[in-house]
Structure formats: C-alpha cells, structure tokens
C-alpha cells in the first residue's frame, strides 16, 4: 500500500527551565550573564511510523507519552528536532473543536471562518453549507452571535464544520471527550465514515473502545517512542495489561499548571481499607484524593472502568446522582466511590476525570487491577465472555410451580 503519512527517526526536544517567553527588560539584563541552564526533555524519540493510504490508525498511550506532539508534527504545527515527517495530500487537524470560533460572530460567519481554518475554500463551504447546518441542527440560530449559543449547540456546530472537511488526511485528537453521549456517537460514526471514504485517519482518544471501533490498527506510544504497533484488539489488550503501574494504590505528583487534579487513588473495600484482591461478588470502592487549586463552581468528578477489550463498563459522574457540586472551593478532598457487585471477573483499568460540564481539567488512567471470581464461581462461569454480571435470580420448576428460587431446591430434595 502506498504511504500517506511517514515519519522517519522523528524526535522532538523541549527545553525546560529555559526562558521561552520573557520580557525585553529581562532579555537585556541577561546579556553577558549567560542563559540559565536548560534541561532537555525528549517528548519524542526516534519515532518511525508509516500509515498507508486510506488507513485508520489509533494512537494510544498515557498522558505525556508524546501523542499530541506526534500529531502536531504530522500536522506541521511544530517542527521536529530530528528526523522528518512526510504527508501526502491536505491535512485537517481536529485537535480541538471550534478552533478560531469567535463569540461575537454569528453562526454563519463562524462556519466560514472555521471552514477556512480547516483548509476549505469559500466555495467548498458554500457547497456544503446546508449539510453543515443540518448536521449541527442550528438552522434557527444561524444569524445569532455565537456567544448566545448553549455549549451543546456550540459543540454541534464546531464538529459539524469539522465533519465536512474533505482532506486526504484527518487527524482527530480527543474531540470526543466533550459533548453528550448521543453527540459522541454521531461524531464517532462520522469519523468511521471518513475512514470508509478512503481518507487516512489518525485518531487519538482515551476511550479505547472508540479507538477499537474506528481503527483496525493501533500504535502504542510510551515515553516518546513506539512501544507496539499492530492489530487494535491485541495492542489495546497489552496496553491495558501492562502500561500502568500495578494497583491497588497510586499517587501522582502535583502539577501546578492544573486548576484541579487527582493526587491519589486506591482500591479499597466499602469500609475504606486497602483491598488486595477484590472479588466480583462483593462491592469494592475507589478512594480518590483530589486537589482543587482554583475556586471552580460546578466542579464534577467521574470514575471510569474499562474492561479488557477497552469498553467503558462504568462511567459514572458525581453529578449523575447529585445535582450540585459541593467541592468547588479550593482545598483537598477525598471521594469514596462504591461499585456494586455487577462486573464479571477479569481485568479492569481505572480512570478518573475532573472537570466541569464539557471541560476536562484532569484525566488520568490510574491502574489496572484484577477482579477475582466469587468463591463459588465455577471455571465455566468465569470463562464466559460477558460485560456485566449482576446478581440474577433463577427460578426453575415444573410449569406453574416455579414460585421462587427455592422451588427448584425443594423439588430436588
């Protein structure tokens, strides 16, 4: 297959501690005194990836593994430090929904603006205008300034424009982390369609289930290098199995750039004690410690569990059961999230999210853990392939006499 994207020996170095932005005054005073010693951080090192024409490739890896840097170099937003990245054809980078949107302009004006930013000509936009408007469902608000749009309308409009670009290469980064479930489904469907239209797609998402759905092939980036590259199912399984520190308790370094952040997570019993071997027939809980550095009204928290295939079996936000948040004030908090015994035995990965509405402030995949079978579970039951295993009551007896589970037992006895 002919390649459409190719990187050869790609590396990107960032200088930490160097004055990247300062004032003129500092710059003049610094002359002659010598620059501060800079520390190098290689965000990418010797990355060699080849993507064929019309291929859809998922990019996975932990925070800081270099996914965004790689996308930015492929999209030519920034230069590599070593090596070369090549692309064939027009590239549309959807690194954010609504790049360049301006609140003072109307929906119509923003469609043309955003279209031009994504590389569409005015004629392209005009030709697809009705489609874009219909996809976003904002017909009545076309001449309303964007600042009066609800956040849902804003997102729909933003993705609608992006969904109608017709480049050879589409780069999608986490745009699905926003919006409601129905909207996310539509976006995902559209991205799959782009793949079927023989466009080359590179897709980054923390939602491994979505990655598996859109991309037959997955590249796993770890610490700036390619750790594995191959069929989606296989790579996702080994990523979930080994990419994270083993549980059941993890702490994270403070990151002063984040307005709020998750600082620790541990797997505990409902009583709050550390749990080494959680069982599928007993409830278990996640104890999450988080830090709020800036007063954030409406702050929300979510806990996500991925199963081995990358499916989100649990995705529960605090606001799902409680309409208003009580932890928007600065400070350190602890949440105890109890998961009822409804999951089958197997391997899971815990992730946690802090944000507000559609905005993500901190998201981390925390650790994988093994949920052990119940004491009475037979081998055949454990091996069965299922997503949930709630306590289910069976009542079997002769017709008309199955009044309860006991019926069978008494018939036996």
């Amino acid at each position: 297959m002919r390649a459409t994207i190719e990187t050869v020996g790609l590396g990107k170095r960032y200088r930490l501690g160097e004055h990247v932005r300062g004032d003129l005054r500092e710059a003049l005073l610094r002359r002659g005194r010598g620059a501060a010693v800079a520390r190098d951080l290689w965000a990418l090192r010797d990355v060699n990836v080849r993507v064929g024409d019309g291929e859809a490739v998922g990019l996975i890896g932990r925070n800081g593994a270099g996914k965004s840097t790689l996308l930015r170099i492929i999209a030519r937003i920034t230069e590599p430090t070593t090596g070369v990245s090549r692309t064939r054809g027009r590239v549309a980078a959807l690194l954010e929904v609504g790049t360049g949107f301006h609140a003072e302009l109307t929906g119509r004006e923003n469609i043309f603006l955003n279209g031009a930013i994504l590389g569409m000509s005015r004629n392209d936009v005009r030709r697809r205008f009705t489609d874009i408007v219909a996809f976003a469902g904002v017909e009545r608000f076309l001449d309303t300034p964007l600042k009066r749009y609800s956040s849902g309308m804003y997102l729909r409009l933003a993705f609608a424009v992006a969904a109608h670009v017709e480049p050879e290469i589409v780069i999608v980064d986490e745009v699905l982390a926003v919006g409601d479930a129905e909207f996310q489904q539509r976006c995902l469907t559209r991205i799959s369609e782009m793949g079927r239209e023989q466009r080359t797609v590179i897709f980054v998402s923390h939602d491994l289930g979505s990655v598996a759905r859109v991309c037959p092939r997955v590249v796993w980036l770890d610490d700036g290098g390619v750790r594995a590259d191959g069929p989606a199912e296989q790579i996702i399984a080994s990523y979930l199995g080994s990419s994270l520190e083993p549980g059941p308790s993890t702490e994270f370094a403070a990151d002063a750039d984040k307005r709020s952040q998750i600082v620790a997570c541990s797997l505990v019993g409902p009583d709050g004690d550390l749990l080494e071997a959680p069982r599928r027939d007993r409830p278990f809980a996640l104890r999450l410690r988080f830090l709020v550095r800036e007063h954030t009204p409406g702050l929300d928290l979510a806990v996500i569990l991925f199963n081995r295939r990358g499916i989100r079996v649990v995705d529960d936000a605090w606001s799902d059961s409680r309409p208003t948040s009580a932890c928007g004030e600065m400070g350190e908090y602890e949440a105890l999230v109890e998961i009822p015994p409804v999951l089958p035995a197997g391997q899971y990965t815990v992730a946690a999210w802090i944000g507000r509405g559609h905005e993500t402030i901190d998201y981390r995949e925390i650790f994988p853990f093994e949920l052990f079978p119940g004491l009475t579970d037979g081998a055949a039951s454990v091996r069965r392939n299922r997503v949930v295993q709630p306590p289910i009551t069976w009542a079997v007896g002769v017709p008309g006499h199955h009044s309860g589970a006991r019926a069978l037992e008494s018939a036996d006895g």
């Binding site: 990247v20 024409d53 492929i74 590599p80 064939r88 690194l95 790049t99 302009l105 004006e109």
Partner: protein, 288 residues
C-alpha cells in the same frame, strides 16, 4: 439521512500528491514559500474580514467611530499647529495638510498595532492548526485599509471644501499606498514575532508609535529640516511615504532626493523582519 454520508468518496486513482515534509529548518533564512502563501490566501481574507466585523460589532458607534476619530484629531492638530503655532504648509490649508499626513499615520499605527497582536491574539490558531505563520501579521494589516479609505474620502471632502485642486501627481498615489503597505508590513512582521517572545513589546510599542508620530512629517512639512540633516531625518522610513503621499494627493513640495534613504530603510526593515520572522517562527507553537 445524515449529510455527511453524502460526502463524495475520494478518488483513489487521483494523481499521486507530492510529499510535504516537516523537518528541522536549517540555514540563515529558510526562505518564503510564495506558492503556499497564495494557496492560503482565502484564510488571510477570512481573518481580515473577521477582524473588521469584530471591530465594528464591538465599537459603540460602530462605523461612525472610524469617521469621528480622525476628525477629532484633525480638529485638535489644526487648532494647535495651524491656528496657534502657524506651522508653514506651502499654501495648503492646514486641515488638508495635516489630514493627508494623518491618513498615512492612521494606517501605519493601526496596522502595526494589529500586527503586534496577530500571533499572540490568535494563539489557538497557531497551536492547533497549520498555516504559513507570516499570514497572521499580513492579514492583520488589511483591515486598516478601511481606515485609509475613510481618510481618503474625508480628505477629498476637505479638498473640495478648501478648493484645493489635485495635480497630475495624483496618478502616483497608488505607488505611495503600496509603499505604505510595505512599510507597515515590515514593522508588523518584526513586532508580531517579537511579541511572541517578549511580553512587554506591546507596551513599548504604544509609546514608540506615539513618539514616531511627532518624529514624522505629519503635523509639519519635512522641508523645515534643512541641508544634510534632511538625509539623516529620512532615516525614519515613514518620512518618504508621507512626503510622497501628501505631494500626490494635495500638492506642496515634491519628493526630495533624501526620500531614497527612507525607501532603502523601509526595505531593510521588511527584509530583516522576514528573516527574523522565518528564523523564530519554528518555535511559535511551542512558545506562545
């Protein structure tokens, strides 16, 4: 039926597109890719239109402000320098004289100030999308053309009012307008790139632009500077453009040999600006 599903399939047999490379840039001046700039011309146009729309949507009086502002400046200058100080203007009525200089000045100062913010103010574009970065200062200057058009219209009204007749030199007006654009672009390219690196550039810039107003022949004619000093004075590149523009539009003293110095400095500013910009732009997305 979702609109998206009607998207045309890409033709797999389409001609093989050439590789576009992204590699570490080398050399003193990475050059300008003019063909690519041309391919992105619609983006420049859309960004300029956006800036114009935002400007008039936010302003209280909208378009009226763009007319009122220069009129107030002319009234003040005419009173101070025409009426109180009696600056000699070779027979041109002072309001006509000063307005012909201010027209250039307004374009220059609006253009340079907009260019200074063009990269920093569009940080989301710079960090999330690719386009030739030079397009940002270039597009940011275009909305100032509206001010220039308004100024030209008002000068025309003034000329009719004061019975000042245009001369054959009017035919050269487009030359000076191109010169004005080159001048503004030269400074704009410099300050847009410097502002990414140094946060305080825009404060310094506000002061410098204001100072340059009085160092340029806006409120007085450059013939007041005599002998060899005139050549030194022309090191200020704004001098040549204002002299030429005013001469073409309302008459007065014809361009002086020293104007060559102004145009030479202007080109030096532009070329050095382009070199500096291209050398530092590789880091914009990492630094902004």
């Amino acid at each position: 039926m979702s609109a998206a599903s009607s998207a045309p399939m890409r033709d797999p047999d389409a001609a093989i597109r050439p590789w576009v490379e992204n590699r570490p840039s080398e050399g003193f001046f990475p050059g300008l890719n003019v063909g690519e700039l041309w391919a992105f011309r619609e983006l420049a146009y859309v960004l300029a239109i956006r800036d114009i729309k935002i400007r008039y949507k936010q302003a209280l009086f909208g378009f009226g402000w763009a007319v009122l502002q220069p009129l107030i400046a002319v009234a003040i200058f005419s009173f101070v320098f025409g009426h109180v100080t009696h600056v000699p203007t070779q027979g041109i009525p002072y309001p006509v004289f000063v307005y012909s200089g201010l027209a250039v000045w307004f374009f220059f100062s609006a253009g340079v100030n907009a260019a200074a913010q063009s990269l920093v103010g569009n940080a989301a574009l710079v960090t999330k999308t690719y386009f030739p970065r030079i397009l940002a200062p270039l597009a940011s200057i275009l909305p100032a053309s509206i001010d220039l058009a308004i100024s030209l219209a008002i000068v025309t009204v003034f000329m009719v009012g004061y019975s000042v007749e245009p001369t054959a030199a009017l035919a050269l007006l487009p030359v000076w307008i191109v010169g004005l654009f080159v001048l503004t672009l030269g400074f704009g390219v410099w300050v847009s790139a410097l502002n990414v690196r140094y946060r305080d550039v825009r404060y310094v810039l506000g002061f410098l632009v204001q100072t340059l107003l009085y160092a340029s022949p806006v409120v007085f004619p450059s013939v007041l500077i005599e002998g060899a000093w005139r050549y030194a004075y022309a090191l200020n590149p704004v001098v040549g453009v204002i002299d030429g523009f005013r001469w073409s539009l309302v008459g007065g003293s014809s361009p002086h040999a020293s104007d060559i110095v102004s145009f030479a400095v202007m080109l030096v500013v532009l070329v050095s600006g382009l070199v500096y910009f291209r050398r530092v732009e590789r880091r914009f997305a990492d630094v902004i």
